[in-house]
């Protein structure tokens, strides 16, 4: 459902946003401490001897690529800080992006999104630090194995994103480079591969040539896809005059999100242009990307400059007028495909003679050049120790995200804050529980004393309820499992909450349906109507029969009663709409029970 995330909560839920921002702040302090510790380590270690400075020559295209994608990762990390990200990412980005993909892709994406749904805050914060850490690592690790490892880490993370986002939508109906397929992350992965190869390869002719040709093939293939007939790219409207062109639809969708009026106007106008002149717009993109791809096969500096200019112009136009800068809407995770494509195009055509970069360094020593004639740049700044320390700090920042992310994936637990957010927070109380005389579905008598020495979790359930009471019973069963060995010290007690259907036989049918008859610490109790009414009144569970085919009406309050018979916590057990929220409630209830265990 649009605007819903976290298994049914609104993406703008203030409690979740507040918790998200607080966790980011706390971890930011950790990052600051890491930076401080790194600085101190460097000072201490460097004071013990003269720092070793070994200038390393780095090809200018590599340096550009490293810095460009380092900054991009940091921008992506900062975008993850948007308040809607915890509850909006799984539905609004992952599932929405895979909507028109084949079923197996949707299933793959849904399994990843489900993990996010369970731990939205932890994972949203984790992604921030992973991406900022990657960016920092790429920026600081200029040479050696550390620099290559930063490239490898980029590839791994980019491929993870590409996988969980349904292969960047590449298998979706209407996939097109102009509207964002095959996903920015695959281009990040491509850049990462280039940064992961040994620095010496950059001095060989073959490295840049192959990279350019791979990019060239990619652009020709995407151009062919863009030109492929029958995909709606060459038509503006259908028979009824409704806009159907994917580029125009994308532009219209992007224009509808909250943003400055000028950018919205620009995108909307371009969408209108596409609707009215689809041949012109699509023809331009097909031509521009196709020719750029072909030109990238050339070794001629002139043709490479043409490729850079033409491809650069097309990417900028698509980025501004179709992808809407990729930054608006509250759920933007990156500036979309055109920016990394632009970066790759610039980096791989930098060796072309006469380019601005080349001219700038033309006076440098001619021996410090790559095989293609591209200049090599000496890193004369930081000593090796500083690079080592800063790389360690960057890796530690990444670990700040990777460790909780892996733990969330491995243990499958659900954040109890989700259930707490759905209803009001649990209320700590301290009053005596009510003595009672009831019996279970087998006719065995139970009184208040029957549960002394154990924690009693008391609630009121309608045995012929068609939804919530059954869900609450299931949540209790999951809580029982979460308590593990401690569950022997806990009794889950439900009192019948129905004026008509409260016989032992009905309770037995309920227990059997829910497979609770074998759970030793589950007790569904009933008794005389007067005794039930006394319980309902004391625990604010007043039960009435509404007319016209309605379920019995009663509250969903649940009471945690300590081993001494004192009520210590009241929690609203009204279940959420999804299994995620049910699991979250089970986690919450287990957390509320544990402090009172004998």
């Amino acid at each position: 459902m649009p605007g819903m995330g976290g298994g049914g909560l609104s993406t703008g839920n203030p409690v979740i946003i507040d918790a998200f921002h607080r966790l980011v702040f706390h971890q930011f302090l950790v990052v600051l401490a890491l930076c401080l510790a790194g600085s101190l380590a460097w000072l201490l270690l460097s004071s013990s001897g003269s720092p070793l400075r070994i200038p390393t020559l780095e090809a200018r295209p590599r340096m550009f690529l490293r810095n460009f994608f380092g900054l991009l990762w940091i921008v992506d990390g900062l975008l993850q800080y948007q308040p809607q990200m915890p509850l909006g990412f799984a539905g609004g980005v992952l599932r929405a992006g895979a909507e028109s993909s084949p079923l197996w892709v949707r299933n793959l994406v849904d399994s990843a999104a489900s993990i996010w749904d369970r731990q939205p805050i932890v994972l949203a914060v984790a992604v921030i630090w992973i991406q900022i850490g990657l960016g920092v690592w790429l920026l600081v690790a200029r040479k050696g194995v550390a620099s290559q490892l930063a490239g490898v880490a980029s590839v791994i993370w980019a491929l993870v994103i590409w996988l969980v986002s349904g292969f960047g939508g590449i298998l979706a109906a209407g996939a097109s480079l102009v509207i964002g397929q095959p996903g920015a992350s695959i281009l990040y992965a491509g850049a990462g591969v280039l940064l992961a190869v040994p620095l010496s390869w950059w001095q060989r002719d073959s490295c840049l040539v192959v990279a350019r040709r791979v990019l060239g093939v990619f652009l020709v293939a995407m151009s062919a896809l863009q030109a492929f007939p029958g995909r709606g790219m060459w038509t503006g409207t259908d028979g009824q005059g409704e806009a159907t062109n994917p580029i125009a639809l994308m532009a219209a969708e992007m224009a509808s999100v909250k943003q400055p009026a000028a950018t919205a106007w620009a995108v909307r106008s371009f969408g209108d242009l596409t609707t009215h002149a689809p041949l012109l717009v699509n023809g331009f993109f097909v031509f521009a990307f196709g020719l750029t791809g072909v030109l990238l096969f050339s070794s001629s500096p002139k043709r490479l400059r043409t490729a850079r200019s033409l491809g650069g112009a097309a990417t900028v136009i698509a980025w501004v007028f179709v992808e809407n800068l990729g930054l608006f809407g509250g759920l933007s995770t990156d500036p979309n495909t055109m920016v990394p494509l632009f970066g790759l195009l610039l980096a791989l055509t930098m060796g072309a003679k006469g380019s601005p970069v080349e001219e700038q360094v033309a006076s440098e020593d001619a021996s410090d050049r790559g095989a293609n004639g591209e200049p090599l740049v000496a890193n004369r700044g930081l000593p090796r120790l500083a690079l080592l320390v800063s790389s360690v700090v960057a890796v530690a920042i990444i670990a700040l995200g990777v460790v909780p992310m892996t733990a969330a994936w491995a243990n499958g637990s659900t954040d109890p804050l989700l259930a707490e957010t759905l209803n009001e927070p649990p209320q700590p109380v301290n009053f005596a529980s009510l003595p009672f005389h009831l019996h279970d579905d087998q006719g065995r008598p139970f009184t208040q004393a029957s549960f002394r020495g154990h924690v009693m979790v008391l609630t009121f359930l309608d045995p012929v309820c068609i939804n919530e009471c059954l869900e609450i019973a299931s949540e209790f069963a999951v809580t029982n499992e979460l308590l593990g060995a401690s569950s022997t010290q806990v009794d889950f007690v439900a009192v019948a909450a129905n004026r008509t259907y409260n016989s032992a036989t009905v309770l037995r049918a309920f227990n059997r349906q829910q497979h609770l008859e074998s759970q030793a610490n589950w007790h569904f109790l009933t008794g005389k109507l007067s005794e039930l009414e006394r319980m309902w009144a004391y625990y604010a569970a007043s039960t009435t029969n509404a007319p016209g085919g309605s379920m019995a009406i009663h509250s969903d309050l649940t009471y945690v009663i300590n081993p001494e018979g004192r009520v210590r916590v009241i929690v609203n057990a009204t279940p959420g709409e999804t299994g995620i929220l049910h699991d979250s409630f089970s986690e919450l209830l287990a957390r509320l029970i544990r402090p009172h265990l004998p």
Partner: protein, 369 residues
């Protein structure tokens, strides 16, 4: 080496393009698939039954297109005034099946959403409903429960269960199906328990075309040619049994009367389709609400005589009063404002429909969400 690398790059690109084209095609076909809907049994069919003491109507109210906003209700009357007599304490989104005998009603409240067993309620002469339960799923058919002097029979997914009157202890009744029913892959859907037969009369739903949908033990009550059929009603009457069977392919409905010796005493075929409501009188008369051509009509079948008249607007239920007069209940639901549904009772006076009563039915919108 350069050429080799170029070739690898070129092949990679072609593979990517091919994958994307294939993926695009897959995506289109995946989204264009439409799931096939299973044929629904007529539990939502509005069913009325007239015993010698009571008129009982079971009908849905609320938003009929949304199960969570659609509530079944029991209406009780004698011909002019009707009361809402829905058993309390249970959501009725799943529908209600009612069996009547004299002044006694037994209602099975069919489960919906997450519930997987069937609560019951029994009332005599408008007294308070007494609850009961069976841990099985009662068949979704208007006649899946039958009152008999010796107790109550119900049809569930395994066969026929019988109880005395406590509604909590049920025993399985042996109900062997005839060979033809097994061959036609028939399942039990309805039951009628008359006074004259020790064994219950069974109503069937079959996958293959059959001559009949009614059987008693190994005996089949054959009434026609092999054709796809749907059993709309199966009721015990004062003189035996009545079975109402539709043949959708032919656009006809057959009303078969059997005596207590299970011999067919009359068989009437009426050209009427899309049956939405039925009513059965204890003397064997039947009223149907359906369509003939593009007109909504009400057909009354008494013995061998058939009367078909145009139905009033918004007709939802048909009824035979205690005296045998044909009535139609027209309903206006107030889904948007979530107010009570308004029911208008019209009786056929031999010439035209005349309004003989109006009443409201409360609809608990939102209570089953």
């Amino acid at each position: 080496m350069k050429k080799l690398l170029s070739m690898v790059a070129l092949l990679s690109g072609v593979a990517v393009a091919t994958a994307m084209s294939a993926g695009t095609a897959t995506g289109v076909s995946a989204t264009s698939l439409t799931p096939l809907g299973a044929a629904a049994l007529p539990v939502a069919l509005t069913a009325a039954t007239t015993s010698d003491r009571l008129v009982t109507v079971v009908s849905d109210f609320g938003d009929l297109s949304r199960p969570r906003l659609r509530f079944a209700d029991v209406l009780s009357g004698e011909g002019k005034q009707y009361l809402v007599a829905t058993p309390p304490g249970m959501a009725t989104n799943g529908g209600i099946v009612v069996a009547t005998l004299g002044s006694t009603r037994t209602a099975a409240l069919l489960p919906s959403q997450l519930l997987r067993f069937t609560p019951f309620a029994r009332s005599t002469a408008h007294a308070e409903w007494l609850p009961g339960v069976t841990e099985s799923l009662v068949a979704r058919h208007p006649d899946a429960v039958a009152e008999a002097g010796r107790g109550i029979d119900l049809v569930d997914e395994r066969g026929v269960l019988r109880t005395s009157t406590d509604l909590e202890h049920w025993k399985k009744v042996a109900t062997p199906l005839p060979q033809w029913a097994k061959q036609a892959r028939c399942k039990l859907r309805a039951v009628a328990s008359g006074r004259g037969t020790a064994k219950p009369v069974l109503g069937l739903s079959c996958k293959a075309p059959t001559r009949s949908l009614v059987a008693v033990g190994e005996t089949s009550l054959a009434t026609g040619a092999n054709t796809p059929r749907q059993l709309l009603r199966l009721q015990a009457t004062d003189h035996g049994y009545v079975a109402v069977t539709s043949m959708p392919a032919l656009g006809r409905v057959t009303i078969d009367q059997f005596n207590e010796a299970l011999t067919v005493t009359s068989s009437v075929s009426v050209a009427i389709g899309n049956i939405r409501a039925t009513a059965v009188h204890h003397e064997g008369s039947v009223v149907l609400l359906g369509t003939r051509g593009d007109r909504e009509v009400v057909a009354t079948i008494e013995g061998n005589s058939v009367r078909v008249v145009k139905a009033p607007k918004r007709a939802r239920a048909v009824v035979l009063s205690l005296s045998g007069q044909t009535q139609v209940l027209s309903v206006i639901d107030h889904v948007r404002t979530e107010q009570a549904s308004l029911v208008t009772v019209r009786s056929w006076n031999g010439q035209r429909w005349s309004v003989t009563g109006r009443f409201g039915v409360p609809v608990p919108y939102g209570s089953s969400m």
